[in-house]
Amino acid sequence: MSQQKPVVGVSEAVSLLFIFISAKIFLTQLIFSIHLGMNATWIIFLVLIFIGLSGVLLLVFLLNRFPGRDLVQVGEELVGPYINALFALFYLAVFVVSAGATLRGVSERMVVGFLPDTPISLVTFSFIISIVVVSYLGLETVARTARFLASLLVVTGLGLIALTIPLWNYSALFPFWGPGIPQLLWGALENTGDYVQILLLGIIYPFLPGGNGKKVGVMAVSISGIVMFLYVLAPILIFTYPTVSELSVPSFEMARNIYFGRFGQRLEVLFLPIWSLSNMIYLAASFYAGAAVLTRLCRLDDYRPFVLSMAVFVTVVAFIPQNVTQTAYWYFNYVTRYSFVMLIGVLLFLLLVAAFKARGGDEGV
C-alpha cells in the first residue's frame, strides 16, 4: 500500500482492534443501550460479545480464503470493481461517520468537562493534528502506539472501576431482567453496531502474521466485550437505574464521584488519558483505515495522501450535526443500529459469491 509493507504483531493488532472497538464506551453512545436495557443493559453487552465473535469468525472465514488480501481486494476479486465500489464506500462511510461522531463527541466532552473556555474548533484541531501525524506514519505506528498505550489504558480503566467499588449498590441489578428478555434481545440487535469496528480487521488482515487473524479478532472482541461490559455494569451499580440513563458520559461521572476522604477526591484528571488517548487511537486507526480503503478504491499504491482527505472528511462530518445531542442520536441511528447488520450482509454476499465461483476451496480454514 505504501512503499514498504507494514508488519503488525499479534499483540499490537489485538491492542489496536480492542481500543478501536471499545473506545466508544467513553462517549455518550453508551446511553442509548441503557435506554433499551434499563438496569439489565449489562446483559445486552454480554450477548453482544457473542454477536461480535460471530462477525469476526465470518470475516476471518472469508479472508482466509484469499490469503494476503484485504476485504476491499477480496470484494473486487469476487464481485468486480463496480459492485465492490459500493461495498468499499460502505466501509468508508463506517469509518468516516464513526470517526466524525467520535471526533465531535470527544471534543465536546473536553469542552464540557475540562476546557470550558476553549473554542471547540481549537480542541478539534488539536486532536486532528496529532491524529494525522500518527496515521500518516502508517499502520505500524498506529498499532505500536495502541500497543504502547493499551497497558496504560487497561490499568487506568480498571483502576477507575476498582475505585468506585465503595459506591456500588448491588440492589441496582434488580429486577434482574430489566425490561424483559425479549426487549433485551431486541436491545442487543439494536446495538450490534458496537462491533462494526471489526471491519478494521478486514483492512489490516494482510499485514498480520500468517494464520493469526482469527486469534487477533477473537481476542480483541473478547477483551473489548469484557471492558464494555464492565463499563456498563459499573455505572448501573453506582448511579442505579433510572438515574444512570440521564448521564451523558457515565465513565466521566464515575471518576468525578470517587471520594476517599479529603485527599482522595477530584481524581478525574488522573483518568483523562482513558478518554483522550483511547479516542485518539480510535481516530488515528479510522484515518488510516479510511485512507487504506480509498487507496484500494482508487487502485493507488500509497495511502498517505488520503490521510489528509480523511481529516477533511471526518472534520466535515463531525460538524454537520448542530449539537452534541444530534451527534449522539445520529451515531446511534445510523451506525449502532444498522451498520453491523449491513456488514454481515456484505460478508454473507461475498461468501455466497465465493462459494458460487467455487473459489479458494483448498485454502479455507
Binding site: 476553549t118 488539536s126 501525524v133 434488580f174 430489566g178 424483559g180 442505579t240 464521584n257 476522604g261
Partner: protein, 421 residues
C-alpha cells in the same frame, strides 16, 4: 538524489511544525487561570427570595486567611469570619448567582470546590427539584458534595457558621460532612445518594438536617432523654460552633415531608450498612435508675426478606450487632458469661424499640427511607412489573417484623467489677 534529500528535509520540517502546533494548545491559552485569580465558593445556601424568587448566599473562601498569611491569625483573616466571607443575592435561579457575584468579587468565581448546598426547610417543604436538577448538568458541580436542609434561613446558617477549629472553611464543611462516620446521628448520604434515591421508586432519600444552635432553653425538665432524641436546632448545649448537624430531612420526590431525630437516622444507617459505631445508654434491668453503657457496631448488613402475599408486602428484617460493655453504673456483675445475656437482652430490646419507632415514623410519613423497596424489587423479574406493583403505594400496608441479635464481645479494660462498699 537532491530531490530525495529535499523531501527528507521538508518532511522533518513538517513534523517539527506539526509537533509545535500540537504543543501550542497544551498551554491552555483559553482555559489558563491562576489559582490566585479564582474565588472558590465553598457553600451555597438557598432560601425563598425576598426581592426575587430565591435568596442565594455564597460562602467564598479567603485563601490568604486560610494560609494564615501576613502574620494574621487565620481565623481572623479576610473579613474576620473564619477565612471566608458571605455574599447574598436575590436571584431568579440558583446559577444566576455565579454571574452576579462577579459584579462584586474581583476574582472569577467557581463552584468546583463547593462542599455544601444548603436549602432552607421552608423551601425544601415546597420542593427543591427545580433547583437541584440544573446543578447535575453544571460542569463545576460535583455529586460528591453534600446537600443539607437547615432549620431557619440558610443565609443566617452560613453567615454565622464560623469554624472554631479550622482556618479553612472548606475543610470545616468537609469534616462536618464526614461526621457520619463517627456519630450515628448524621446521615451518610452525599448528593449522589440523595439524587439517585430521589429517582428510584424503591427508596426515599434523607438529607442531613442542620440548624443554628438554640439560644434559649429547649427542655424544661431534667428527665432522661436518649441522646439520639435530639435533632438539629434542639440540642441542649452551650459553646462550640454556631451550627450543628443532627437528624435528617425525609424527602418524597423533591419535597421534604418530615424530619428524623438522631436515633432514627441511626436506624436508617443500620439498614444501609452505613452505621459504623454508636454508644447506647441502656436502662439497667435490675436497677431502673442506672444505665449500662455499651458500644454497638454492625456484625453484618441486615438481612431483609420480603414476601408478597395477596399484593401486601410482608417484611422480615434480621439485624445482627455486636459490641462491648463500656460502663455498668450499678456495678452489678453482668460480665460473667452466664449473666451476659442480661445485657444482651436489654440492648436488643432498646434497639428493637428504636427500629420499630423508626419504622412507625416511615409509615407515618409514608416514605420508605429504610430502603425496603430495594429488597422488594428483587422479587420482580422485570422493571415494568416492578413499576406496575407501585411500591410507594403498597409500603404503608407492609407488615414488618424485626429481629435484633446483639452479642457482647468484650467488656472493655475491666474484667469483672467489684462492688463499691
Amino acid at each position: 538524489m537532491y530531490n530525495a534529500h529535499l523531501s527528507k528535509v521538508l518532511r522533518k520540517a513538517l513534523m517539527v511544525v506539526m509537533t509545535g502546533a500540537l504543543l501550542l494548545p497544551l498551554a491552555g491559552c483559553y482555559d489558563y487561570t491562576e489559582p490566585d485569580e479564582r474565588a472558590w465558593v465553598m457553600a451555597i445556601g438557598v432560601d425563598k427570595g425576598r426581592q426575587n424568587v430565591l435568596t442565594v448566599t455564597s460562602v467564598v473562601a479567603v485563601p490568604k486567611a486560610i494560609a494564615g498569611g501576613g502574620g494574621q491569625s487565620g481565623s481572623e483573616g479576610g473579613s474576620g469570619q473564619g477565612g471566608f466571607f458571605t455574599i447574598t443575592f436575590d436571584v431568579p435561579t440558583l446559577l444566576s448567582t455565579l454571574e452576579l457575584i462577579n459584579t462584586v468579587v474581583d476574582r472569577r468565581v467557581s463552584l468546583s470546590h463547593t462542599k455544601w448546598f444548603v436549602f432552607s426547610r421552608e423551601l425544601a417543604e415546597e420542593g427543591i427539584g427545580a433547583y437541584v436538577a440544573p446543578l447535575v448538568r453544571f460542569q463545576q458541580f460535583r455529586r460528591s458534595s453534600q446537600l443539607l436542609i437547615c432549620e431557619g434561613r440558610a443565609e443566617d446558617f452560613l453567615t454565622k457558621g464560623v469554624p472554631q477549629l479550622e482556618d479553612n472553611v472548606g475543610k470545616y464543611y468537609e469534616l462536618m460532612q464526614q461526621g457520619w462516620r463517627y456519630t450515628e446521628f448524621i446521615p451518610f448520604d452525599s448528593f449522589h445518594q440523595f439524587y439517585y434515591k430521589s429517582e428510584n421508586p424503591g427508596v426515599n432519600p434523607v438529607a442531613p438536617l442542620a440548624a443554628r444552635g438554640a439560644k434559649e432553653t429547649i427542655y424544661t425538665d431534667n428527665s432522661f432523654k436518649p441522646k439520639g432524641y435530639y435533632q438539629a436546632g434542639r440540642i441542649p448545649r452551650k459553646g462550640g460552633s454556631e451550627i450543628e448537624i443532627m437528624g435528617g430531612a425525609v424527602f418524597k420526590k423533591d419535597r421534604m415531608v418530615g424530619t428524623l431525630n438522631g436515633d432514627q437516622v441511626g436506624v436508617q444507617k443500620i439498614f444501609f450498612g452505613a452505621m459504623k459505631r454508636t454508644l447506647l445508654n441502656v436502662p439497667d434491668p435490675y436497677h431502673p435508675d442506672k444505665y449500662i453503657i455499651v458500644d454497638v457496631l454492625p456484625r453484618q448488613k441486615p438481612r431483609v426478606d420480603i414476601n408478597i402475599t395477596g399484593g401486601r408486602p410482608k417484611i422480615t428484617a434480621n439485624v445482627k450487632l455486636e459490641g462491648q460493655i463500656l460502663s455498668i453504673q450499678s456495678g452489678e456483675n453482668y460480665e460473667r458469661p452466664d449473666r451476659l445475656y442480661i445485657v444482651e437482652d436489654a440492648v436488643q430490646e432498646l434497639i428493637f424499640e428504636d427500629i420499630n419507632d423508626t419504622i412507625a415514623k416511615s409509615k407515618q410519613l409514608d416514605a420508605d427511607f429504610l430502603g425496603f423497596g430495594l429488597h422488594a424489587q428483587k422479587l420482580f423479574p422485570t422493571w415494568p412489573q416492578w413499576s406496575a406493583y407501585n411500591w410507594e403505594e403498597k409500603y404503608k400496608d407492609a407488615d414488618i417484623t424485626v429481629n435484633v441479635d446483639y452479642k457482647v464481645r468484650r467488656t472493655g479494660l475491666v474484667h469483672e467489677m467489684v462492688q463499691l462498699r
